[in-house]
Symmetry: C2
Subunit: 109 residues, 2 copies
DNA sequence: CTTGGTTATATCCAAGTCGGATATAACCAC
DNA sequence: GTGGTTATATCCGACTTGGATATAACCAAG
């Protein structure tokens, strides 16, 4: 489609990271939870999407996230870059526009 | 991703048809206009998406649309089916949820 | 009427993306 | 130390996309 450089999966991941850094598995659960179970990222899509976002400079790896959580050597934490935040914001604004259009068409109340 | 059976392109087309029946080219312009130029459907994506929506029973062809417009033999008009309207509504509600989450994360104002 | 730009639909291909399966292993409670 | 959950990684076949190409109806200008 032209628009942003984001796929739907990419946007969901960025949105999950907008609040605070997180590791892959936490992103997966966040996406499922915030969508009310409607959106589920399988491991393939999840980790493939993360590497794409890394390569595109929208996300970066960070040393350790939540200091309250017990250390787990397997986890890899990610956070948004400035470019990632900008891309997520642009996409969210586009979505808000779509929701408005849907409302005007009487699709949703 | 799991969620609905809709691709992003599919949703844009359904949204364009939510107001009133339209033909392919009009859908294309609607999508571009309502997104402020951010989303452009090329002919490949447009007509392929329409045939998929037809096959899935979300859209149906209708004899002629706008009676005010001059007749043009090339045009093929489409309108939402009930299933299509339901799918579009479900997707719009999911999007509204995402926009809310983006707001809570401070991504958009 | 014919020429040229726009509108309109349709199909093809290479490239990109996805879902789900499979693999591996650290973690933790019992 | 065993078993279920958490966690990351990669592979494959299937599906989707972007952009090019093709074809032709429409219509205004000359």
């Amino acid at each position: 489609m032209v628009s942003t450089m984001l796929t739907t999966a990419g946007f969901h991941v960025l949105l999950a990271l907008a609040g605070e850094p997180a590791h892959g598995y936490a992103i997966m659960r966040f996406v499922e939870q915030v969508s009310g179970g409607a959106v589920k990222l399988g491991p393939g899509t999840l980790y493939r999407t993360i590497s794409r976002l890394l390569a595109d400079g929208l996300v970066e790896e960070t040393e350790e996230g939540d200091p309250a959580a017990p250390h787990d050597a397997r986890r890899r934490y990610y956070r948004l870059t400035q470019a990632g935040e900008a891309a997520a914001r642009a996409e969210a604004e586009l979505m808000a526009r779509m929701v408005t259009a849907a409302r005007e068409a009487g699709l949703v109340t």
